[in-house]
Each structure stands twice: as structure tokens, then as C-alpha cells.
């Protein structure tokens, strides 16, 4: 499939449209004169010089502005989006319908619990579904995103150690981990102990063992790892960490490989975040909102953040949890995203989720099989839901793919290989789409490298000057 120029319109900033005095909202008339407000505000009033930065446009102007801008975006709805580690699968439209049901969408967080029984039941059920899928004792839906789930999880580990009267100083983080892992552990004052990958792409067990001691709070591990490979020593890793009194944090970013096939809690992982916006199809939204629910083992259950959704005579928010780490955000978590994930899980059921993981792994292996002649495969080990190739001109390959109608894979990550191209096709791409994707990859691999340096040419804008943006930061609209 070749990108074809369509109707693309240059589009200025909203502030450059419109004319003074225009508005896109008509509020009902209110009889009280403005003077009453001015009298009340006095010196609290906003001055003319303290100007708002807002456009002055009618509704049709704003509609056209954001409709045009939307067309400058690549999206799952328009093309294959094989961004590794991001699980860019189809976001079902029924989810959006569900999230907009007035009985969910218009709930105020401080309504009495008796008025929230349907919502609470949904949260209760979702907690239980996730616990079953991940193999955990309990689940909190509070964290807003994966990194926030990591924060919550590591804090629970710290709290559990403290309850035993222990303060530990280190956290093991494999070099292949997402950047959020070391950033989170460092926040809690842990020294980051790196562990390299062995020749098979898996954690080097000898190095791991040599670094593990009773000063390690634990390990943060992604399984399948960021190369898409299953850490086959996971049970032994968990056992060893436990023997030293530590805990195992699981990064659930790659859960899409395992649903119904294997459960992280069964491996011995003590706490793991789920990314509802990856595995459970809540929309990616250009970068969130997500939902980073965390599952925990029995040992960590007392430390869950408050409130926990509980069931007694009815459903309620339990805040009386003496060992809880406390509240990690306002209200109860990204409920709108929970509704969508619940919808997805109920539609698929257990068998459907398993089938989704099977197809996700099938698709990744198919792409791997078709591309291994053209790209370097640094690890020959069987991959699961994603495959990592390398290339000496990774950036040019990525930009060349854009001209062939494809979103580039995740590039230059994981850091353990040089020039990584991390491809995660997901289960919702058909064989034909995968063939298109592979053909695009093959074509760019065979393209004249010099020519690729000019890519992309079919987009409205060419390569952006990122160095200039950082050197001379312009972060807000400059009035002319």
C-alpha cells in the first residue's frame, strides 16, 4: 500500500482564526446585571492585562479546525500501528458508547454509595476479572497509568518491608526495562542495580544471582520482556528474590501475550500493573488517559491504596485499612476507562481473551518469519507478541515506512540492542494488513539509503527539526 496524497489542508493555530467577540457557546440569559459580579469581586477581578489566551471563533470554525487537525494524525482507525510495547489494537466503539451512558458518565464522585451501586459493582467485578486474568489475590483500580501503578506497587513493597522493620537500599532493574521502572525505583531512594541480558536475550542468571542480596527490595521485571521473549527463569527469579526477603514487581505492559495462557501471579510475581489502555482496549487518546490497575499477592494485599472497592451488604469504598499506603490520587481512579475495559472483557470472555493473545503471538511471529531475511534479528529465541529487529539506519527506515502508509514501530528501544525496531502488530490486524506491513518493511530495506534520508515525502510536513525545538524552546503561542 502506497501513501497517496488526499485533501490535506494547512491549518493555523486556533488563536490565529476568528475575530474578536466571537464565541462558539450560547449560554442561557441570566437576569442579574454584571455589576453585581464586579462589586463582589473588587480587587479579585481579572484585569484586562491578565489576558486569556483563547481563540474567538464560532462553532463551525472550531469544528473545522479540530476536524482538519485530526486528519494530520496517524491512528489505529486508519492504518496499521505496530508500535512495540504499546499494544495498538483495535479500540472497539461499543466501549465509547458504554463510557458515555449517562448513568456512568454523569456520576459525581461524592454521591452517596447507595446511589453508586451499579458503578461499584462494575468496579468490583473488574477487580475480580483482572485478579483472575493475572493470578492475583486482589486488585486496586486506582492508579491512573502504568507509571502510576509502578509508583503504587513499589510503595507497597517498601511498606511491606517497613512493616517487617526493614529498610532496603537497592532495586534490581534489568537493562531491558522500560524507563519508568528505574525512574520509579529511584523516586523511593533505591539505588538501581542493572542486570544485563544474556546471549539468549533473557536476564543473565549468573549476573542476577551475583547482584541479589538482602539489601535488594526486589526486582522490577517485564515478562515477556521488551524483546518479546518469555523470561523462562521467571519462577526461579521469583523464588530467589523471595528467599532473600524481597518482592517481585511485574511490569504488565506486555500482558497481551499471556491472557489465558499463563498468569504472572502464578510465577510468583507479588505485584503487577495492568495497562487497561493497552491490553484491554481503552482508547489510546493520543497518549492517555490510561488506567494502571495493580494486582497484588496475599502478602501485599493489606498495603493497597485506599479506597478499596469492597462488598458487604452492598458495595462500598473501604477506607479503613490501617496498613494502606494511603491515597495515590483524588477520587477512585479513571472510572471512565474501567467501564471500557469491563465492556471489553465481558464481550470476549475467558476464551475470547485467550484467542486474542494467541492471535497476537501468531501475528508477531508471522511478521518475524517474513522479515528475518531482510532485517537483523539479534535474538533467535522464539518471540511472543512482539519482535525486535535491528538496522544500521533505524530512523531512516522508520521515516520510509511512513511514506508507505505504515506507522513506524517503536525505535531505539529496548536499549540493549543498537538501532532497535520493535514491532507489535497485535491480534486485530488481518493477514492482508500484515502482508502490506511486511511488504512496506521489505521495500524500505531495499530502498537506496540516500533516498531514505529525505523521507517522509508524502506527509504534509517533512522531517521536523527536533534539535532546534530543544535549543530554543517555544512552548506556548507567541502573540505577534
Amino acid at each position: 500500500m502506497i501513501g497517496r496524497t488526499n485533501f490535506d489542508f494547512a491549518e493555523n493555530l486556533s488563536f490565529e482564526h476568528g475575530s474578536p467577540g466571537r464565541s462558539g457557546v450560547d449560554l442561557p440569559a441570566v437576569s442579574m446585571p454584571d455589576a453585581a459580579v464586579r462589586d463582589l469581586l473588587g480587587e479579585h477581578a481579572r484585569l484586562e492585562s491578565d489576558a486569556l489566551v483563547l481563540p474567538e471563533c464560532s462553532e463551525p470554525e472550531i469544528n473545522r479546525h479540530y476536524t482538519r487537525l485530526s486528519r494530520w494524525n496517524f491512528s489505529i482507525d486508519t492504518n496499521t500501528y505496530p508500535l512495540g510495547s504499546c499494544t495498538m489494537k483495535y479500540n472497539p466503539r461499543i466501549n465509547e458508547w458504554a463510557g458515555r451512558l449517562p448513568g456512568f458518565a454523569n456520576l459525581h464522585p461524592y454521591l452517596p454509595e447507595s446511589r453508586l451501586q451499579g458503578a461499584l459493582e462494575l468496579m468490583w467485578d473488574l477487580q475480580n476479572y483482572l485478579a483472575e486474568i493475572g493470578g492475583f489475590e486482589a486488585v486496586s483500580l486506582q492508579p491512573a497509568a502504568g507509571a502510576h501503578g509502578e509508583f503504587t506497587g513499589v510503595m507497597m513493597i517498601q511498606a511491606a518491608l517497613k512493616a517487617r522493620g526493614e529498610t532496603r537500599t537497592k532495586m534490581i532493574v534489568p537493562h531491558s526495562a522500560h524507563g519508568t521502572n528505574p525512574a520509579t525505583a529511584a523516586f523511593f531512594g533505591y539505588e538501581i542495580v542493572n542486570v544485563e541480558s544474556g546471549p539468549d536475550g533473557l536476564i543473565d542468571m549468573a549476573e542476577f544471582k551475583s547482584k541479589l542480596d538482602n539489601q535488594c527490595a526486589g526486582i522490577m521485571i517485564t515478562n515477556p520482556n521488551t524483546l518479546g521473549l518469555f523470561e523462562k527463569n521467571i519462577s526461579e527469579i521469583c523464588k530467589l528474590v523471595h528467599e532473600y526477603g524481597g518482592f517481585v514487581y511485574g511490569d504488565g505492559a506486555n500482558l497481551n501475550a499471556l491472557m489465558g495462557m499463563a498468569r504472572p501471579g502464578d510465577f510468583g510475581i507479588d505485584v503487577m500493573h495492568f495497562n487497561l489502555h493497552k491490553t484491554f482496549t481503552t482508547p489510546h487518546g493520543g497518549g492517555g488517559p490510561g488506567c494502571g490497575a495493580v494486582g497484588v499477592s496475599k502478602a501485599l494485599e493489606p498495603f493497597l491504596p485506599i479506597p478499596v472497592v469492597a462488598k458487604g451488604k452492598g458495595y462500598y469504598f473501604d477506607t479503613h485499612r490501617p496498613q494502606s499506603i494511603g491515597r495515590v490520587r483524588s477520587f477512585y481512579g479513571n472510572f471512565g476507562m474501567m467501564v471500557r475495559a469491563f465492556t471489553y472483557i465481558r464481550e470476549l470472555g475467558g476464551e475470547g481473551l485467550k484467542q486474542a493473545s494467541e492471535r497476537a503471538v501468531l501475528n508477531a511471529n508471522y511478521v518475524k518469519a517474513r522479515l528475518k531475511k531482510y532485517y537483523h534479528l539479534p535474538y533467535k529465541t522464539d518471540c511472543l507478541h512482539e519482535v525486535v529487529f535491528t538496522h544500521k539506519n533505524t530512523l531512516d527506515i522508520a521515516k520510509g515506512l511512513i511514506d508507505r502508509g505504515m506507522h513506524p514501530p517503536t525505535i531505539y528501544f529496548p536499549l540493549i540492542v543498537s538501532g532497535a525496531l520493535m514491532i507489535e502488530p497485535t491480534e486485530t490486524e488481518s493477514k492482508e494488513e500484515l502482508d502490506n506491513l511486511c511488504e512496506a518493511f521489505i521495500e524500505v530495506a531495499q530502498e537506496d539509503p540516500e533516498k531514505l534520508k529525505g523521507a517522509p515525502i508524502h506527509t504534509a510536513l517533512g522531517r521536523l527539526n527536533e534539535a532546534q525545538a530543544a535549543r530554543n524552546p517555544i512552548l506556548v503561542y507567541q502573540h505577534v
Binding site: 493555530l13 488563536f15 459580579v37 491578565d50 486569556l52 471563533c57 479540530y66 487537525l69 494530520w72 494524525n73 491512528s75 482507525d77 486508519t78 500501528y81 451512558l101 449517562p102 448513568g103 456512568f104 454523569n106 464522585p109 461524592y110 454521591l111 446511589r115 458503578a119 491512573a144 509508583f151 524507563g179 528505574p182 525505583a185 523516586f187 518469555f230 521467571i234 491472557m259 495462557m261 489502555h277 487518546g285 493520543g286 497518549g287 488517559p289 494511603g326 483524588s330 479513571n334 472510572f335 471512565g336 484467542q355 492471535r359 501468531l362 522464539d382 511472543l384 521515516k399 517503536t410 493477514k431 517522509p456 510536513l461 521536523l464 527539526n465 527536533e466 525545538a469 524552546p473 506556548v476
Partner: protein, 426 residues
């Protein structure tokens, strides 16, 4: 399964290409003891018809009338916003890592940053945080990075109680002390305006005093609509301003997702958390946008990052941007004015009916009523009509028993306010 396209022939062909005899064999790398040997115990799969019935039953209907605010005050959001958000190009894109195919999201973030910075009266804003409470915690962490050596911040009780709880969790983990007194050295003094009880604070005085003490000032705004009428914290000298935009995103959804707002002075740029979008040019010299200054962020800096935040609340930031852009300068001011007018009207009517109003002085759209036993009874009775009169403060403040925080906004008609006052008085 309607989301999967593979036919039996496709699977056979694909397995042949891969060189595995069956789907099962694709999972050979998972050791047998690690595999789940039973089906997941989840409810049966549902067709879309059945699914809709189930969800409709769970959702029930929206409350008939609601005067609840307390950090989640609903405002009027034009239908266009919801319609635009449903465009797949907005809904199903991800973080704009490849700028050439993400100019829509990037330009919208740039507009969002511009609007937020302007609203708060500051020079720069980031691409959004999870919510107001975590934005406040991040602001306190940032202040302590800027004032190393003083691991203490002042957060008074007039700040949203849940925001204070979140700060206790997050700052506690970073060994930062929280005090509500201003007589100890602190790296930052926090104030909320309008405060949790709806009053307007004397911002100029707070900021001046804090700066005399060499502390940074963090302002919190849980309802940005107020800033359509009241002076921005930045214009008076606040160093960091954070807020919560949920009321302008379209749905309260039990309090989230909304959008955390974060703005500061340009001089503090390098210590800022979160994603930033910046203006640049493309290879042909055309204006364009990219994610920038990511050397502060976890994916580059790993353990040395300013924050571990990765995913933010982009779709809600977009909703917020669209809503404010629709209102425009004059519309947004009118919105703020209408909120104040509704609160003036409510107070007048409540006073006339003999209610005791706590906290005098200028206020925005919330009012605290001290109820008598019979008024309390009346509030409970209203709940049976599916009308919710306000948030009871004793949930967080035992000293304010029988006190009701009532939010009156542009969404409440005069008749609805009259009915509320009449019902509570009876």
C-alpha cells in the same frame, strides 16, 4: 470474534510461514509449569446485544439534579466536543513519537499548553498530568528540587482534603514533610483559590508573604472556570500553578479521568515534570511541532528523570482545549460570571429562607450552609427524589458537622435553585 479477522486458512498459511505445526507451539518458550492449564474463570462472552443490555442495567440513569462540587464541579460542555473526540484520528492515535504523522495531536497539545499557561498567568505549561491532586504533589516535589535542603512544604486545610491526602502519600514517600503552619522554613507554600469552601483568597498577600520567607508559591485551582473572572495566580507572582480540568472535559465519570493542569515560570523549565510540546520547523522550513526537552523524562533519563510520568491525560487535555476554544475569551468570562451570579442568587435566597451561611466575603460558585436538624432531614429526603443538595463537610472536617457545601453553576436554573432552597427549608 468480531475483532479478529483470521480464517482457518489464514492460520494454516501463517503457521506454515512461521514453521510451527500449531498455535499451541507458538507458546513453547513458556515453560510448562508456568502455563495455565485451565480456562480463565470469567463470565461467558456476550454479543453486542447482550452487552448493551447488561451495561444499561448497570449504569441506570443519571442523577436528576446535583449540587455537588468539591473539586469535581460539572460545567456545560458543548456536544461538539464529544462528537469531535469520537473521530478515530484523535481517539486511536498514541503518544506522538513520530511527529510527521502526529501533527494533529502535537498542535492540539501546543494549543492546550498555550491556553493553560494563559489561564494561570504563567509562561509555560506541560502537556497534562493525571489529575489535580497528582499535579499538586509533582509541584511540591519540583519546589523541593528548586529549594534543596528544605524538605518541607506548607499545605493549609483550605486545600482539597483528598489533594492533601495524596500529597501525604507521595511526598511522604520522598521524605518531604507537610505542615499547615507557616512559621517553619518551607520550600513552598500552597494555597487553593477559590479555596475548598468556595471563598476567594487574598492571593496577592499570600504570595508576597511567601516570597518574603523565600518560599516558592504553588497555587491550586480545582475549578478553572473561576479564572474567567478572577485574577490569575501567575499575574500576582505565583511560581507554579496546578489545577484540575475535569469540569470542562464533558463527563465527571465518578471523578476521573479528568486532566491535571501544570504551569510554571520559564526559569524553572528544566525541573518541570511531564511531556512538553514545542514549536519548530520541518525540512522545508514550515512551522511544525514536536515533543521536546525529553532529557527530563524517564524514557531518556531513566533513574535521573524529574518524574516517572509517561502516559498523561491527552484525550482529556484535548477535550479541555476544545471546550475552552469554543467558549472563547468573551464566552469564558461570561461562563465565570454566570457561576458567580448563581452563587449570589443562591446565597440571597438561602439567607432569606433563614439558612446560616458560613464563611462570608467574596466567593465563587460554592457556598457552605450550616444546617439545623430539620434541614438536615430535608436534605436526606431530597435524596429520595434523586436530588443531591451538596457535599457534607464532616466527611473530612469533624469541626464542620452538619455543614453542606453547595455548588451552583450555569447548569442550575433559577427554578432548580429555588426548589432546592424551598425543599431544604421545609
Amino acid at each position: 470474534m468480531r475483532y479478529l479477522s483470521h480464517t482457518r486458512d489464514d492460520i494454516v498459511d501463517m503457521l506454515k510461514m512461521i514453521g510451527k505445526p500449531s498455535l499451541e507451539d507458538l507458546f513453547e518458550s513458556i515453560p510448562k509449569p508456568n502455563r495455565l492449564n485451565r480456562p480463565l474463570e470469567l463470565p461467558q462472552a456476550l454479543s453486542e446485544i447482550e452487552l448493551k443490555a447488561l451495561l444499561q442495567e448497570r449504569a441506570g440513569h443519571a442523577p436528576r439534579s446535583c449540587f455537588l462540587g468539591a473539586g469535581a464541579c460539572s460545567h456545560f460542555v458543548p456536544e461538539l466536543v464529544s462528537q469531535l473526540l469520537l473521530r478515530g484520528e484523535w481517539l486511536t492515535a498514541y503518544t506522538p513519537y513520530q511527529p510527521e504523522v502526529s501533527q494533529g495531536t502535537l498542535q492540539a497539545i501546543f494549543e492546550f499548553q498555550s491556553i493553560v499557561a494563559g489561564l494561570f498567568g504563567l509562561e509555560i505549561a506541560n502537556a497534562s498530568m493525571y489529575d489535580g491532586s497528582t499535579a499538586l504533589a509533582e509541584a511540591c516535589l519540583m519546589a523541593c528540587r528548586l529549594k534543596p535542603g528544605i524538605q518541607r512544604v506548607c499545605i493549609p486545610k483550605t486545600v482539597h482534603p483528598e489533594y492533601r491526602e495524596v500529597c501525604e502519600t507521595i511526598l511522604g514517600a520522598a521524605q518531604i514533610e507537610i505542615t499547615d503552619r507557616s512559621d517553619k522554613p518551607v520550600s513552598a507554600i500552597v494555597y487553593q483559590n477559590p479555596n475548598f469552601f468556595g471563598q476567594l483568597e487574598n492571593q496577592a498577600q499570600i504570595i508576597q508573604q511567601a516570597h518574603v520567607q523565600n518560599a516558592l508559591v504553588i497555587a491550586v485551582c480545582t475549578d478553572p472556570v473561576a479564572l474567567g473572572a478572577i485574577a490569575s495566580p501567575g499575574s500576582l507572582g505565583a511560581d507554579i500553578v496546578v489545577g484540575e480540568g475535569i469540569g470542562l472535559c464533558g463527563h465527571l465519570s465518578l471523578g476521573a479521568p479528568g486532566v491535571g493542569l501544570f504551569a510554571t515560570k520559564k526559569e524553572f523549565l528544566r525541573q518541570m515534570p511531564g511531556r512538553l510540546c514545542g514549536q519548530t520547523v520541518d525540512s522545508k522550513g514550515q512551522r511544525g511541532y514536536v515533543l521536546t526537552l525529553s532529557t527530563r523524562e524517564q524514557h531518556i533519563r531513566r533513574e535521573k528523570a524529574t518524574s516517572n510520568i509517561c502516559t498523561n491525560h491527552n484525550l482529556m487535555a484535548l477535550a479541555f482545549t476544545m471546550t475552552l476554544s469554543l467558549y472563547g475569551k468573551s464566552g469564558f468570562r461570561e461562563l465565570a460570571y454566570q457561576n458567580i451570579k448563581k452563587a449570589i442568587y443562591f446565597r440571597q435566597q438561602a439567607s432569606k429562607a433563614g439558612f446560616k451561611i458560613l464563611f462570608d466575603g467574596p466567593h465563587f460558585n460554592e457556598t457552605v450552609l450550616k444546617l439545623t436538624t430539620s434541614q438536615l432531614e430535608a436534605a436526606r429526603k431530597l435524596e429520595q427524589e434523586d436530588i443531591f443538595a451538596g457535599v457534607f463537610l464532616d466527611r473530612w472536617y469533624p469541626e464542620y458537622s452538619n455543614c453542606l457545601l453547595v455548588a451552583t453553576t450555569e447548569l442550575h436554573t433559577q427554578e432548580a435553585i429555588d426548589y432546592l432552597v424551598r425543599s431544604l427549608a421545609s
